[in-house]
């Protein structure tokens, strides 16, 4: 688990960042579905509250626990941060806002130093956009990143197994669409580069 | 079809005597015959109005039809709810009727009415227009005509009345008709036509009101006739967008001269102090209205 000694957190907390339409909220919900399949008793996920606009930065929050979750406040101190769109990184300023013990997952072709994200305990980087495009996951020319990024999430966090994620994806998308999403998620699972602090 | 006359109109009274309507009430005449035409399988909904008073206080009702009293601005919404409830319970044969005054229709109730008409809700809406808030002491409404004195325009109203039937016609509903209690046969027939149609049907009744308009109650029917003959109020129906005039209004449309409005105005105390200028303004309003009927092609004879 992502919890560090001395940081007595009851729940695993995740923030998903993306732009409206990229699928940050859906990605969080798919993990929630998968967690339900795996019998987690505590699962909550919500978008950042308020009006959402296409293109604008959005956030989704996820809490997971083997015990029921009783709080619904927005996550401010996450264990895991997922960034679907690398162009958000300068705005998000993760290094100054969040604890270095976080696990960070970024859609990018670069490495942590180039992204100015060195220093986080654990990082996973994958070229989600290319894989999404290669697998035909686009709507109106925009790459849909919500399913491929789950491959990286599973690989990095060890919270959910790939089979439950696959079931969640199949439940959400039917037929060939599900297959393309599954294929992309599997490719990312295998191709995610993992960086850990020494 | 056998021609309808007083003799062939149904005898059964749905409005019971000994009710609280004013002496010489024009609404009572329209209500009596309207209910006859609507028949037995009907549910009414009525907002705050003279009709609330006519229908009587708990626990006694002065009519043989069921009615739900509702808030001032809600007649059309209330009718929509009755319709939805009946449909959900499979009682599609019951006719739903909202019956409201001109304030309840053209002022506070226009939002709900416009919404229901846009949805083409299956009900009949009846606006009885006595040209002001007559139940509460004669205040002005959007339907009060130019020059008329009310308790909230003591020097006479400075705006012309709102053309509610045409506003409803602009909603493209299947049926819009204007009715006067001075022409009960026409009234009965239009109610009957409306009853046999589906969708939103709108009937606009000009109702002479002895206390509100200021005339001897015995003249209610006469005043109503004068309004039609001078062209202040016109009898027509619009079925699926096609307008046709009735009786005296048809004669005017086909070339008979209108009576001057002055006699109609001078017969009512609400216009007591109006100058000739106001009379001319009203005459001009009537003339222009008829000009526009012509331009719209309503006066063509075929």
């Amino acid at each position: 688990m992502a919890d560090e000694p001395g940081k007595a957190k009851k729940y695993t907390e995740v923030i998903w960042y993306g732009r409206g339409g990229q699928g940050a909220i859906t990605a969080s919900q798919l993990v929630a579905e998968a967690a339900c399949i795996e019998g987690y008793k505590g699962i909550t996920t919500a978008p950042s509250f308020g009006a959402e606009r296409r293109g604008a930065p959005v956030a989704a929050f996820l809490r997971l626990s083997r015990e029921p979750i009783r709080i619904f406040s927005q996550v401010t101190d996450p264990n895991i941060i997922v960034v679907l769109d690398p162009t958000l990184l300068p705005i998000l300023d993760l290094r100054t806002r969040f604890d270095k013990n976080c696990t960070v997952i970024v859609n990018s072709t670069r490495d942590p130093v180039e992204l100015h994200l060195d220093g986080f305990r654990k990082m996973g980087i994958a070229d989600i956009t290319s894989v999404a495009v290669e697998n035909g996951l686009t709507i109106a020319g925009v790459a849909i990143l919500n399913t491929p990024i789950l491959g990286a999430f599973v690989r990095l966090t060890d919270l959910i197994g790939m089979p439950s994620i696959e079931t969640a994806i199949k439940n959400k998308f039917g037929g060939g669409k599900a297959e393309r999403n599954l294929a992309a998620a599997r490719i990312i699972y295998d191709s995610t580069r993992i960086y850990e602090r020494g | 079809m056998k021609k309808l006359t007083a003799v062939t109109m149904p005898d059964k009274e749905y409005m019971l005597p000994g009710n609280r309507s004013c002496v010489g009430c024009g609404l009572s005449i329209a209500y009596r015959h309207g209910l006859k035409a609507l028949g037995d399988s009907v549910i009414l909904t009525v907002p705050a109005s003279c009709l609330t008073v006519l229908q009587g206080m708990y626990p006694v009702s002065s009519m043989l039809v069921p009615c739900l009293n509702t808030a001032f601005e809600t007649t059309a919404a209330s009718a929509a709810g009755i319709r939805a409830g009946l449909d959900a319970l499979g009682k599609r044969d019951v006719t739903v009727v909202g019956w409201a005054g001109d304030g309840g229709t053209s002022d506070i109730g226009i939002q709900a009415l416009s919404g229901a008409a846009e949805r083409n809700t299956d009900f009949i809406y009846i606006c009885y227009d006595n040209e002001g808030y007559m139940n509460t002491g004669t205040q002005r409404s959007g339907s009060t005509p130019y020059g008329a004195v009310t308790s909230t325009c003591p020097s006479g109203k400075l705006e012309h009345k709102k053309d509610m039937p045409m506003i409803m016609a602009a909603h493209n509903i299947p049926y819009v008709a204007t009715v006067s209690p001075s022409y009960p046969i026409d009234l009965y027939e239009k109610f009957t036509t409306a009853k046999h149609m589906k969708g939103t049907r709108y009937l606009h009744l000009l109702i002479p009101c002895p206390p509100g308009w200021g005339y001897d109650p015995r003249y209610t029917v006469k005043i109503g006739r004068m309004a039609v003959l001078c062209g202040m109020f016109d009898l027509y129906e619009i079925i699926n967008g096609k307008l046709s005039f009735y009786g005296p209004s048809l004669r005017i449309a086909t070339g008979e001269p209108r009576e001057p409005v002055e006699a109609y105005i001078r017969a009512q105390n609400r216009y007591r102090d109006v100058s000739m200028e106001v009379v001319e303004m009203l005459q001009e309003w009537v003339d222009k209205k008829w000009e526009s009927y012509k331009k719209m092609g309503y006066c063509e004879t075929d």
Binding site: - | L16, G18, R20, G24, M57, S61, V221
Partner: protein, 101 residues
């Protein structure tokens, strides 16, 4: 001493719901200042023996005039508006001052 406030209401309604009856507003004939008198001889229907008029029945706001030959007026509820007299095509109805007693 306890003031007598009258009897307790005895119905089982939880919603105000009225049932129909004539005379909801009381004996509205009491509102009348003038009362209508129909002249048997002057009435079109009585004169001709044909059921062809009934203008008084049609225009009565109260529904208190019968569709009979000749028409009869229920004076218990007639409010005395005089519309029947005004609309009678043969002027067979006259409005007469109530005695005041």
């Amino acid at each position: 001493m306890k003031e007598d406030k009258g009897p307790t209401s005895g119905c089982d309604h939880i919603t105000a719901s009225s049932t129909p009856a004539t005379g909801e507003g009381g004996r509205t004939g009491d509102w009348r200042v003038l009362y209508p008198v129909i002249s048997r001889d002057g009435c079109v229907v009585a004169k001709t023996g044909k059921p062809m008029c009934y203008m008084c029945w049609m225009f009565c706001p109260e529904g208190v005039i019968s569709k009979t030959v000749p028409p009869e007026i229920n004076l218990e509820y007639c409010k005395g508006c005089g519309i029947c007299a005004e609309e009678c095509p043969s002027k067979a109805i006259t409005m007469v001052q109530e005695s005041g007693e």
